[in-house]
Each structure stands twice: as C-alpha cells, then as structure tokens.
C-alpha cells in the first residue's frame, strides 16, 4: 500500500485551496484594481469600483430582487415538499414513483425547454401570470425542488419519520402537530442542506428569468450579462457584483453548516451516545 507522507498531504491540500481560492482572489483583486492588463498583479489599487457599485441603485435592486426571489422560492418549496414527502412516507408510498420522476425532470430537460413549457402552459391557463415575477417564482420552485426533495427524503429516512409518526399518532397528535413538533425539528440537517441548494439555484438562475420575464425582472445573473454586453462594458463593477454574490452565498452556507454542526448524528436511528448516559 502506498503511504502518503505529511508533505504530500500538505501539498495536496494546498493545491485544492489554490484551485478554489485563486479565481476568487483574482476577482477580488480585479474589483480593487485601477488597471490590470499586462502584469501579474494590478497596476494600482482603488476602492472606486466598490464605492460606485455598492451605491448604484440598479445593482442594489438586482441583489434585492434576486434575494427575495430565492427566499420566496425556498419558502414555497419547503411548504410543498415537506408535507408531500411526509405524506409519501407515512400514508401513500405508492406515489414515490411519481415524485421521483418529477424530481428527475429538471435534470433531464434543459432549462430553456422548461421555460418554454411554462410559457405555453401559463399562456393557456393563467395568462395573467405572464410577464410577472410570480411566473419566475413558480418556475424556480419547479426546477429547484429536486434538491430539497432528495435532502428531505434522506433526512426523513434517517430520522425514521414513519416510526415517529406512528408514535406521535398514538400520543394523540394531529397531522399538523406531527409536522410541527416531530417532522420539522427532526429533518433540520436535510432542510438546511436542501434549502441552501434551492436558494443558490434560484439565486444564480438565468435562463428562466431571461425567457419568462426578461429585463422587467433584472436579477443578478441578468444584470451581470447586461454589464458584459453594454457598450461601455464595466468589468470591474461585474467583479464587485461577483464578490458580493459570493459573500452572500458563502455567509449563508457557513451559517447553515454552523447551525447543523453535530445535529445530523443524533437523528440517525439507533444512535446511542455514551456521553453521560449511565448504563441500565
């Protein structure tokens, strides 16, 4: 067996860190540069692009719009997916084939196809939604729900929700009480992981917004594209926006990881930690 020494391990770790950190560092440097064309490092440094970017209403509006859309998508998906998976697990396992097929659609169909499908469907049945952010919300909820579905399904399996549901029923709890007091608190890890993916999917989504609503709902992705294609391309401002988006998503990820630290293990069935528990 080949043994990797500590030097090798440090080198491997450093390579990974460099691979992840280098592009982001370059973007940060670019957002702070006066000019960066021919040297390894920028010719000079300035906070001008940050000042201009952060005070620009259009950028603020784009970030705000994107954030509330991602949050609304998350809320909608949680409201639909958690009761649906709960129902599937405890009442009607036969619908699993349908839910799993639905969860596969966003992965097998290009978003462009999905967007045109939504347009045709809305045009026929709910034309009043066309051109509004609501249609984006429905589209985002549809394409992001598989991430939440798999995470919640796994979390419910790990927590033994079917068993806990029966126990709660024998305690006299109603389905709503079971969801509130038993299901939600015991799928925290899955909810956080899946929720983060839903939020990030909506936050960075471009095709649906472009096709369904276009410039009337300029989110971060669309704004980035516009910065690139406008006659006076503003790459430094684009770098500022990229860093802002990265910081937002990174902060959410860190918060989720911190909140879930040590939580996942205790929901696994059969776990009996030794700490402090005296033997019978």
């Amino acid at each position: 067996m080949v043994r990797v020494g500590w030097v090798g391990r440090i080198a491997f770790f450093a390579a990974i860190v460099a691979y992840i950190a280098l592009p982001m560092t370059a973007v940060v440097l670019y957002s702070l540069s006066t000019r960066w064309t021919s040297n390894l490092l920028p010719d000079g440094y300035t906070l001008r692009h940050w000042r201009e970017g952060l005070t620009e209403t259009r950028l603020q509006q784009a970030v705000l719009r994107t954030t509330w859309m991602a949050a609304a998508t998350l809320v909608l998906d949680v409201a639909i997916v958690v009761p649906a998976v709960y129902w599937q697990r405890v009442r009607n396992p036969r619908i699993r084939i349908l839910t799993e097929l639905s969860a596969a659609i966003p992965f097998v169909l290009p978003f462009v196809v999905i967007a045109f499908g939504i347009l045709r469907l809305a045009g026929r049945y709910t034309p009043e939604l066309l051109g509004t952010p609501w249609i984006i919300l429905l589209g985002h909820a549809a394409i992001a729900f598989p991430f939440l579905y798999w995470a919640i399904d796994g979390a419910m399996a790990a927590a033994g929700i079917s068993r806990l549901n029966e126990a709660a029923q024998t305690c006299g709890a109603t389905p709503v009480q079971i969801l509130r007091h038993v299901v939600f608190p015991n799928i925290g890890a899955g909810l956080a992981t899946g929720g983060m993916l839903v939020f990030a999917t909506s936050f960075g989504e471009f095709a649906l917004v472009q096709i369904l609503v276009g410039a009337r709902f300029e989110n971060v992705s669309l704004y980035s594209l516009n910065l690139l294609t406008e006659t006076s391309s503003q790459y430094e401002k684009l770098a500022v926006l990229t860093v802002v988006v990265f910081v937002i998503l990174f902060a959410i990820s860190v918060a989720v990881v911190a909140l879930n630290r040590g939580q996942a293990g205790r929901f696994l069935p059969g776990v009996r930690a030794a700490e402090g528990g005296r033997s019978e």
Binding site: A159, G160, R163, L164, E166, A167, A168, Q169, T170, C171, G172, A173, T174, Q177, H181, V182, P185, N186, R266, F267, P269, V271, R272, A273, E275, G276, G277, R278, S279, E280
Partner: protein
C-alpha cells in the same frame, strides 16, 4: 381502573396473505394479556389494529365499551410502547413524556405535575433533561412507557418492548413493566415471541398461529394443558414424537403408552416436557443413549437417542445437574414418561 378490550371477529389480509383470520379476544379491565406466537403469526398486526395503525377488513374493536373500529389512532384511548422505543430525538425525556399532554392542549403546570409523577414512577427523574441519545436503551424504553401512560389511556399496547435490549436489562425491565402495569391498574396487551417473557408477565397468554387464536389461558394452564398441537409444541420446549396408533394407543417400548386422540389418522404426535422424562434404575423403561449434555445451572439438559416404533428419535431430558454429572456422553440409560404428562394430538391437528 381502566376499561377492558373486546375484539370481535377481526380479519385482515395483506394481498394474498391472511394476517388475521376471525380473531376474537376479550381482555378484562386491569388484565395483562400477552399475545404470543412465532414471527408472522399476526400478533403485531392485531396489536396495531387495536391502535388504529392498521385497519381490519372486518370485525369490531371495543375499548372501554366503546366501538373504536373506525376511529383514527389519535382519537383512541390507547398508549403504545414500540419495539424501537420511537422517542422523539428532538425532545428531552421530559419533553417526550409531556408530548401527549401538550398536543391535547393541557395547561403547562398540569403537564409539569403529571410528567414529574410519571418520571418518578419509571425512576427517570435524574435523567429527565437528557435527550434520548444520551441515555441507555432500557432508560429510553422506560421513558417510552411513561409517555404511553401520560394521557391515562384505557389500554396500554406494548409491541415487543424488550426485544431490542440485552438479556440482563430485559429481565429487569420485564419485572418493572409488570410492576408499573399493576400499580397503574391499566389493561395491557403485550406482544412477544418470547414464551418465558409471556409466562412471567401475563395474567393470560393468547397463543397465535397463522393469524388465528390457538389458545387463550393463564400461563400455568397453558403450560400444563395445551389444547392444540401448536400450543403444545410452541410452549414449554416440549419433545414431540410422531408415533403410529396401535390398538387405540400410541407409545414406544416400555417408555410410553397413551390413548390416541379421537379422529386421529394412523399416526399421532406425543408431546411431553423434558422435565417429565424419568430415568429408571431398575431395568424398566426404554433404552436410550446419551448423545450430548448441556449444563444449564441447576439442571442439565441431556440429548437422548431412542429407537421408537422402528425409527431413531431424539429427546431432551432435564436432570438435576448433580444427578447428570456422572453420566458420560455415550452412556446407556433407561427412560420412561408418565402418561399423565403426555399430550397427544392427531398428526394433522
């Protein structure tokens, strides 16, 4: 004292499998009845039907005189203890015990008083603020018992509550569950596949086989007077010898001769317990060879080989260990069985 349970003609199918076949049972108020049988006999399905976790295809379930057959689980006056404890991992033991009262909207101070009372009853006051994963399996099961008792149900349902525990804890908790059931005077249905557990705990034991009730009787009666071939074979670790019926009797050599059952075919099965095999010192009885010995403390179980009705048969015989000690493996002994201790059933009975 809580109300009784009455099951009338309960049947349940899972596809082609008949899980329960016209099962009836009456449990008196305050009585503990053990549902005993092998895996797949329908005992858990019957318990889950009482809980409302399974819906029977036909029959009626009455708890405390009220028909609850179609009632949802949450509206039945039951408390249930599961094999896997099924404590809520997000709540402390105190939270778990208080949960049935909380969902019923009871006042906070009333919940607190009742939870303290129950934690004291199951000796868990010191562990009350620990989470389930921080206590042992036995403690978790005692918390589950307290939770089941919290809303003062009419009937307590226990689904193999001890089978996930190790032997020592199992014996201790078995006694404790019985003590608590008698202190609370609650009607209880207790599912187990362990006959020792059933015999030790229950006022009556209901033996089930293939979805049907074989026999319902107090432990001693079941042990001494099994009324069906299945009960005789399942309870008491009996020897079972299939023998030809000759002149209205079954037997072999000088060891055994018992009247054959009415309606039997040409063969019958004789059941007798290992402790009822006697050893003869005066040359009477039937020759047997000691094939093996298993020390079990005060008694030693001997594995004997005999020639019965022209065929080789194997028997178990329990002897006090001091008497069994001088008998080496391979020794020839002579054995007989008192006819009063033998139960004979038709082969197809």
């Amino acid at each position: 004292m809580s109300g009784g349970v009455r099951l009338e003609g309960i049947s349940k199918r899972f596809g082609a499998v008949r899980a329960l076949d016209d099962v009836s049972l009456e449990v008196a108020p305050g009585e503990l009845v053990a549902l005993l049988g092998p895996s797949g006999c329908g005992k858990t399905t019957l318990l889950r039907s009482v809980a409302g976790l399974e819906q029977p295809d036909s029959g009626r379930i009455l708890v405390g005189g009220k028909d609850v057959t179609g009632a949802p689980t949450r509206k039945r006056p039951i408390g249930m203890v599961f094999q896997s404890y099924a404590l809520f991992p997000n709540m402390t033991l105190r939270g778990n015990v208080g949960f049935p009262l909380k969902v019923r909207g009871q006042a906070v101070d009333r919940i607190a008083d009742r939870v303290e009372e129950l934690l004291d009853l199951v000796h868990l006051t010191d562990q009350a603020d620990r989470f389930p994963h921080q206590v042992s399996g036995g403690q978790q099961q005692r918390a589950a018992l307290a939770r089941a008792l919290a809303p003062a149900p009419e009937v307590l349902l226990l689904d193999e509550p001890l089978s996930a525990l190790d032997a020592m804890v199992r014996t201790r908790l078995r006694d404790e569950i019985r003590r608590i059931q008698q202190v609370v005077k609650i009607t209880a249905l207790y599912v187990t596949h362990d006959q020792a557990e059933a015999m030790a705990m229950a006022d009556r034991v209901a033996v089930m086989n293939r979805g049907r009730m074989e026999q319902v009787a107090p432990p001693l009666e079941l042990y001494d007077e099994p009324t069906t071939r299945f009960s005789a074979g399942f309870v008491g670790n009996r020897n079972a010898l299939e023998l030809p019926v000759t002149d209205g009797h079954v037997g072999f050599g000088g060891a055994l001769r018992v009247a054959a059952p009415n309606g039997g075919s040409g063969r019958a099965v004789a059941f007798f317990r290992p402790e009822d095999v006697r050893f003869s010192a005066n040359g009477h009885g039937h020759p047997a060879i000691v094939e093996g010995k298993m020390f079990q403390g005060s008694v030693t179980r001997l594995h004997l080989v005999v020639e019965a009705a022209g065929e080789t048969a194997r028997l178990y015989a329990d002897l006090p260990s001091r008497e069994a000690a001088p008998l080496p493996v391979g020794a020839e002994v002579r054995v007989f069985v008192d006819a009063a201790n033998v139960r004979v059933f038709p082969v197809d009975g």
